[in-house]
């Protein structure tokens, strides 16, 4: 066991895949409040997984837990049998619901990531910015961007790290159709390249468009995990059925 990595050594991890992701009876609390309660799931393939559920279901905390940002009280989560560690986290990228941008220009935000991951030159940075619709924004202050532009910059930074797992917390919430389409296209392209994508969303149409797997959560628990086609046509649980049809879950 070295820095939380079990069964294999650290060097081996760098060459390995970090999927499947397996969560076993995960429990996460903030103070006395249980946010995730006995959560178990398995993401076996490199398809797009959508985590859906009502507000306060624990979707964002689940993504943060996958990314190792929360303390797990009980249970464990493994990535191809590795426990979470810095080496595992380096293969992930999390795009937060409210992007945290450095108090610098757009280009400096990108260069910061490139410097940490030592994997991108100026040309790659420029191409990533163009891909995310931020061509010509280099010298603009990142904090002066619009909501959609901020989200796209946040995504561009994530892409620059070339992650094996891309975690997206409501990546298109409140965005205009242009930003929405651009981000969805990038998600699909990245997935085609082999990136495992886990996203949270309240947009059922988006979940249908993008996701192959669905994890449905309510009140900190995974209620249902299934194939997206099955979930939307014939959900297994009443809660899921009610949620899809816009009814209040008690």
């Amino acid at each position: 066991m070295l820095n939380g990595i079990c069964m294999h050594n650290k060097d081996k991890l760098l060459e390995n895949e970090i999927t499947p992701i397996v969560a076993d009876n995960l429990s996460v609390s903030f103070g006395n409040i249980n946010i995730l309660n006995d959560v178990s799931f398995k993401i076996e393939n490199k398809h797009i997984t959508a985590v859906i559920g009502p507000n306060g279901a624990g979707k964002s905390v689940l993504l943060q837990t996958i990314n190792g940002l929360t303390n797990i009280q009980e249970g464990k989560i493994t990535f191809n049998s590795f426990l979470n560690s810095n080496a595992v986290r380096k293969k992930q990228a999390l795009v937060f619901q409210y992007p945290t941008l450095l108090r610098r220009s757009v280009l400096s935000n990108m260069e910061f990531i490139a410097e940490i991951y030592k994997n991108a030159d100026r040309k790659i940075i420029q191409n990533t910015l163009i891909r995310c619709g931020l061509d010509g924004y280099d010298q603009k202050s990142a904090r002066l961007l619009s909501g959609g532009e901020k989200q796209r910059l946040s995504l561009a930074r994530a892409l620059l790290s070339q992650p094996s797992i891309l975690l997206l917390d409501e990546p298109t919430a409140n965005l205009d159709p242009f930003s929405l389409k651009l981000i969805e296209d990038i998600i699909l392209e990245e997935n085609e390249k082999g990136t495992c994508i886990i996203l949270t969303t309240h947009d059922m149409a988006q979940a249908k468009r993008l996701a192959k797997n669905i994890i449905f959560m309510n009140k900190g628990k995974v209620i249902e995990q299934t194939d997206a086609d099955i979930f939307f046509k014939k959900p297994k649980t009443t809660q899921a059925s009610k949620y899809i049809h816009g009814e209040i879950l008690l």
Binding site: Q64, N67, G68, L69, N86, R89, K90, Q92, A93, L94, F96, T100, L102, R103, R104, F112, I113, E115, I116, S141, R143, L144, S161
Partner: protein, 235 residues
């Protein structure tokens, strides 16, 4: 003519004619305060950042200690440094009593807590914003410290100027360890104290005017930079 008017005219004359003794004092003042500020920043900025971002046992006690030290009485610091570097003191062998080096040490002791405490406050605020991002990105500690300091640079500038203000205007400590020796350790504040006691108000007032001008210019530069930064949302 009123004594104040007379002193003021003489003072302006000293400034306008670039009086040699006046500028010698001025130069030494800047040298001593500048070096002590530089050394304090070298220690205080990373230390303040570490205190802001690292959680360890006794962290709050250390912060309280530095906050308390912000109000250290200069004469007490002067006395402590005097006892350390005087011939019979533990560092007496260095032979630095009544030299600019002793003055620099005294000023460092006075301004380092200011730099540490204010830096910690500023970085604590920005680290709340960046913390999860940096953990998620696995940013190494040294790079995180550099990033915090860089992104808080406009606020840090205020801290540096606060330190400089304290150093350049300080008199109690430097007069004890420097001795106010002409052409050797005489700085602006000690000269003002000496010349006032001698009744030579023109030189004292000239230095007072320069001290005020320094405060005015630094504040003007600071406000301009901060306003510019705010316009670009960097502050």
């Amino acid at each position: 003519m009123n004594i104040i008017q007379e002193a003021l005219i003489k003072a302006l004359d000293l400034v306008i004619t670039f009086d040699e003794s006046l500028f010698e004092i001025l130069l030494l003042s800047f040298k001593v305060s500048g070096i002590s500020l530089l050394l304090s920043c070298f220690i205080g900025l990373p230390l303040g950042t570490l205190l802001a971002i690292k959680n360890f046992w006794g962290r709050n006690s250390v912060l309280i200690l530095f906050n308390t030290m912000m109000g250290l009485p200069p004469v007490v610091v002067g006395l402590m440094v005097y006892l350390l570097v005087s011939r019979s003191g533990p560092l007496g062998w260095l032979g630095i009593l009544y030299t600019p080096t002793a003055m620099i040490i005294a000023q460092m002791i006075l301004i380092t807590p200011i730099i540490v405490s204010l830096t910690a406050q500023i970085i604590e605020e920005i680290s709340q914003e960046y913390k999860n991002l940096f953990v998620s990105l696995v940013v190494p500690s040294h790079k995180a410290i550099m990033a915090y300091l860089y992104d808080a640079r406009y606020s840090i500038l205020t801290v540096i100027l606060a330190g400089f203000g304290r150093a350049i205007s300080e008199v109690g400590a430097v007069i004890i360890v420097g001795g106010n020796i002409d052409h050797l350790t005489r700085v602006m504040t000690t000269t003002i104290a000496l010349e006032t006691s001698k009744g030579n108000l023109s030189l004292a007032l000239a230095l007072g005017i320069i001290l005020l001008l320094i405060a005015l210019v630094t504040n003007f530069v600071l406000i301009t930079i901060k306003m510019n930064a705010k316009r670009h949302m960097y502050a």
